[in-house]
């Protein structure tokens, strides 16, 4: 089981965490909702929960809860610029389909 960040993503996370002034890492999760089954959530983490599984990628701690891990296994989180927009992108090998707006997906 692995979850990684691209270098660009790690740099951006570290910068954001620095700006925020607190937080132990980045929490990735999957919620069963949305129009195509599942949706990602990406949050700062202030503390690790006992059940969390931790990954370290380019110096950033990634926290994932055990319920989300099967859906995220093998994911690489990238930080990209698309036109005027920049943000995080999940390269998740488990994804089979996504809804039109891309906010939710199915495995």
């Amino acid at each position: 089981m692995t979850i990684t960040l691209s270098e660009a993503a790690a740099r951006h996370v570290q910068k954001s965490l620095g700006k925020r002034g607190q937080g132990v890492g980045l929490r990735l999760a999957v919620k069963t909702s949305g129009c195509s089954g599942l949706a990602y959530s990406l949050e700062f983490a202030d503390a690790a929960q006992p059940e969390d599984i931790l990954f370290d990628s380019h110096g950033v701690t990634v926290l994932v809860d055990p319920k989300s891990l099967p859906f995220l296994d093998g994911t690489e989180l990238d930080f990209v610029r698309e036109g005027l927009n920049e943000g995080f992108k999940f390269n998740n090998p488990n994804v089979k389909s996504a809804c039109g707006c891309g906010e939710s997906f199915g495995v």
Partner: protein
């Protein structure tokens, strides 16, 4: 794929979820509506960019006019133009000084009513008309239905007045998340609730009323220590002073109603101008064509109105005395109401408390802004624990309902602060489906059979429609007492069903902890089961739809060979559904059936269009 941003813990919003909540300042003179957008509280303007909605309602034969237009008609139709209705809320006729009002007041049971040209209107109905206008303003600018609203009331409002305000909101179709004291809302807008504790004074000088409240913040809760005020002191009095002076200055004996109105408007502009400039020039044209000019300095204006300012100081001292605190023990003074923009008001308040009052936020908006912040939290848009003053409780386990295939759709995720409300839309699965069973469950597992069943009810009377056309909005709401109410409403026909349950009933902390560990341990198998069930539901839907279509016009549209091809694919999938547990195989067969029916679907579409167009002239089709 949409690009994501990192959210604060617990703040990431689920896709396509509308949890629009607003804060409403239902004022005596003006009303406002505000909401949280991108973490910032802001007031919603009307289509002409105006923030304030005058709390004036005019009843004419045809429609109800609210706001600026109603205000403009005040002098021409005083009997049917209701201003300052807030003063009548929850009051009896005997509580009101009838000599001051132009209305025909009636002593009706419970509360006074106003007799207008469209019949008897209670203050609740008049307030509801104001709230309805704010509601449609909010829904138009936010683009969706509101989950709820926080409405502010004066701290001194009694139970009858509060209930009347709630009733008005209900009548306007608003779900009241909470009534909030106006001074508390102002304190929240300034973020004073973030301090550990403190004592604050809220000085609220509005258009026609003055209120002073002393609040104490401790353990995250605001307590109103004392309130005092003057129900007949406000910004309007300052305007009258200037108008009186103008009349003297220009030696006008009598003036027409039109001239009086214009003079008051000029006085008001002059007053506002003097808040930022040391002098201002007032010009006015009389009915007889004479043009008059006057020069007013801030210094002279302050002399003219000094007694009004000092009149507000007596209630302040009284409130401090009632609260048992000295002026220098106050940790912060918040200025509310447009009239607190006047420099000499600010200076007088500053002198009395020995500190600079807080004036960074627009004093007209500060109450609505604070209400919006609270509404946002109550609607469930803020995470657990981040706002201590509201953290009444959290729901320990997710609440959701059963969907096709025995799967759980979570509506309220665990650790949501309560009170909270969430809504989600569902649809029908079969053509012509007229009822929907709603099974409310609690737990973290993916399958209904592994979660705790809380309640079941049925929504009946859904009009016959094709599968997927009905829009059923299911709302989960947990009130401050932890009572869960679930309601389902078919949006097109409006049929509704509703149930109430106490979700935490009978569960101990250990049981809750066990349910959570269980869910974590079984994450893998749960995911597999969920995928299988989803594939099965999809496949079943396709089999049903294809079978129905074949029966309807399969023979008419397909050759014998094509017909058997589709039929074979249907059989293969239907058979697999009986026995197969391999997700991939079901998905492959589903895709195969999809491919086999592609041509059939196209033919059906063409036939459908032909039917729709047959006998229609081309000209009738052009837009």
């Amino acid at each position: 794929m949409a690009l994501l941003q990192i959210a604060e813990p617990g703040m990431s919003a689920a896709p396509h979820q509308h949890r629009l909540a607003v804060g409403i300042d239902l004022g005596t003179t003006n009303s406002l509506v505000a909401t949280i957008a991108s973490g910032q509280s802001r007031v919603l303007p009307d289509d002409q960019g105006r923030m304030l909605l005058p709390s004036v309602v005019r009843y004419t034969g045809g429609e109800v006019v609210v706001g600026h237009e109603a205000q403009a008609a005040q002098t021409e139709d005083p009997r049917n133009t209701i201003v300052s209705v807030k003063r009548f809320m929850g009051r009896r006729l005997s509580d009101i000084d009838t000599t001051q009002t132009p209305y025909v007041l009636l002593d009706t049971p419970g509360m006074v009513s106003v007799d207008t040209c469209v019949g008897v209107r209670s203050p609740v109905e008049v307030s509801a008309d104001i709230l309805r206008t704010l509601r449609s303003r909010a829904e138009a600018s936010l683009g969706g239905e509101l989950v709820g609203a926080v409405i502010t009331v004066p701290a001194y409002f009694d139970d009858a007045q509060r209930q009347a305000t709630k009733d008005a909101a209900k009548l306007a179709g608003l779900n009241v998340l909470r009534l909030l004291n106006e001074p508390t809302a102002a304190a929240i807008a300034y973020g004073l609730d973030r301090a550990a504790h403190g004592t604050f004074a809220i000085y609220d000088l509005g258009g026609g009323t003055f209120d002073i409240s002393i609040l104490k913040l401790s353990r995250g809760m605001f307590e109103v220590l004392a309130t005092a005020g003057d129900a007949a002191l406000g910004g309007d009095d300052f305007d009258h002073r200037i108008a009186d002076w103008l009349r003297q200055h220009w030696a006008l004996a009598a003036s027409s109603p039109g001239e009086t109105r214009m003079m008051l408007a000029r006085a008001r502009s002059a007053k506002e101008a003097l808040s930022s400039a040391p002098t201002t020039t007032i010009t006015m044209t009389l009915d007889d064509g004479r043009s008059l000019t006057a020069e007013l300095t801030r210094e002279f204006f302050e002399q003219l109105t000094a007694d009004l300012v000092s009149r507000s100081m007596a209630p302040v001292r009284r409130a401090l005395r009632d609260a048992g605190v000295a002026a220098d023990e106050i940790d912060g003074v918040v200025m509310v109401g447009g009239s607190t923009r006047m420099p000499h008001v600010r200076a007088a308040v500053g002198r009395l408390f020995g500190q600079e009052p807080l004036t960074d936020l627009d004093p007209d908006q500060v109450v609505a802004l604070g209400a919006a912040i609270q509404a946002d939290v109550l609607a469930g848009n803020k995470p657990a624990g981040s706002e201590g003053w509201l953290l009444l409780d959290v729901c320990p386990l997710s609440l959701g309902l059963e969907t096709m295939g025995g799967l759980v759709e979570k509506v309220i995720p665990r650790n949501s602060t309560i009170p909270t409300a969430r809504a989600q839309e569902f649809t029908t699965y079969k053509d012509g489906q007229s009822a929907m069973a709603i099974h409310v469950v609690q737990g973290e597992r993916e399958l209904v059979s592994e979660c705790r069943s809380l309640a079941r009810f049925e929504l009946r009377g859904i009009p016959p429609m094709v599968a997927g056309a009905a829009r059923i909005r299911v709302t989960f709401q947990i009130d401050a007492d932890g009572l869960l109410s679930v309601s389902a409403r078919e949006q097109i026909s409006g049929v509704e069903a509703h149930i109430e349950v106490k979700p935490s009933y009978g569960l101990t902390d250990t049981q809750i902890a066990d349910m959570l560990t269980d869910a974590y341990g079984k994450a893998d198998s749960d995911m597999a089961v969920r995928m299988l069930r989803e594939a099965q539901v999809d496949a079943r839907r396709l089999v049903d739809a294809t079978t129905a279509a074949l029966e309807e016009d399969g023979h008419a549209l397909l050759t014998q060979e094509e017909f058997s091809g589709v039929q074979a694919a249907v059989h293969a999938l239907a058979e697999a559904l009986q026995t197969e547990q391999d997700v991939q195989k079901i998905k492959l067969l589903t895709e195969a059936l999809n491919a086999a029916t592609a041509n059939f679907a196209a033919l059906r579409m063409d036939a459908g269009i032909k039917r729709a167009l047959a006998g229609t002239r081309l000209t009738e089709l052009q837009p």
